[in-house]
Symmetry: C2
Subunit: 209 residues, 2 copies
């Protein structure tokens, strides 16, 4: 299989972390988003959605979206489990993945893409240009702050988002919280549980994959 | 377990369809969103996120988010498989679920919640009030139309979104496309593959669950 990556973007980083946790070495091609390579015809022939990460299987199947790539890799290489070990844990991993995507990743992306000059007319990823909405950037910032509070509340209850073990939900949250630096947002000093969780994940080899 | 439902809202309907496909009968409580019951202290004591669907397991674990509920139910009752039978199919189901959520469900919700008077100051679901952004309603409509095209393109290639078999991705897309009536958007006559797919799903008992 071939993995289409971008070393500067948060979503490909999530897939890289899954590959690293599974110990899978995969042929990788860098697509520079800064250079607009994802929008060129060569890459759109591979993924018409013009987005990374993308994983092309040996039979030619295109898998996009972190959830799709993670579900495939979990079935291909079940160890270590990243999507839960039993029914309850599988439910909690997917629940927290969804919460983090909707209440963390989306607002952070909205705050960045609807305000930063580099995303002028690129407020939504994908092949179609889209103008910025400054009010949505503001809403995004407000919701991203609320997400950091939600994260702290949860991590005071359990060591990892889905409970006792590190999972795909932690990968997603860790990458998005780290990426929030682009909107000049950091975990507050008082969020001790989140800071401890960040330090534990930063120490994993996959965090620097 | 206890299922917290709302008969008029699209997201609880997705969970109802999963329960029906699995043949699971579960104690159900109706939470009227029109009546604001999801925001009352009684329900927030169960789900502080103030959203349905929610599934409370016998050990007290709260599962929210359709992905969380579907992953739990798939592990509890694997037949019929709704999240894929092998690695490739599992990847495709999750990939299409994510695409449908982000490019279909989200824009339709944005178009509705940022424009309809019933959602004044309720532009984002959950416990915190949030003012409407009319420009985002417009963007949502534009993206929802593009999503209908994407769906038609895919369904001309394969009978169901993830390929040969009906899956959770179809449930998600079917419910959102049906719900798009609230923004006065319907599948165009010319989208024959989508209309055929809709008819096949409407004939399943779970569609009227």
């Amino acid at each position: 299989m071939i993995f289409f990556d971008c070393s500067t973007a948060p979503n490909p980083r999530r897939a890289r972390m899954v590959l690293a946790e599974k110990g899978l070495r995969v042929e990788t091609r860098e697509i520079s988003i800064a250079g607009g390579e994802q929008l060129r015809p060569e890459f759109r022939a591979i993924n018409p959605q013009a987005m990374v990460p993308a994983l092309v299987l040996d039979d030619g199947t295109l898998l996009t979206e972190n959830l799709g790539i993670a579900a495939y890799l979990e079935a291909l290489e079940p160890e270590p489990p990243l999507l839960g070990r039993d029914a309850r844990e599988k439910g909690l991993v997917m629940m927290w993945s969804a919460i983090v995507e909707q209440q963390g990743g989306l607002p952070i992306a909205e705050a960045l893409r609807n305000a930063h000059p580099a995303f002028e007319n690129r407020a939504v990823p994908g092949p179609v240009d889209c103008p910025q909405i400054p009010q949505l950037a503001e809403r995004g910032r407000m919701r991203a702050l609320a997400f950091l509070d939600l994260l702290e509340t949860r991590l005071r209850e359990t060591p990892y988002l889905a409970g006792e073990i590190f999972s795909f939900a932690d990968i997603t949250a860790y990458v998005f919280v780290d990426f929030a630096r682009v909107i000049k947002m950091r975990v507050p000093e008082a969020h001790e549980a989140t800071r401890d969780w960040q330090a534990r994940i930063a120490a994993r080899p996959s965090a620097s994959a």
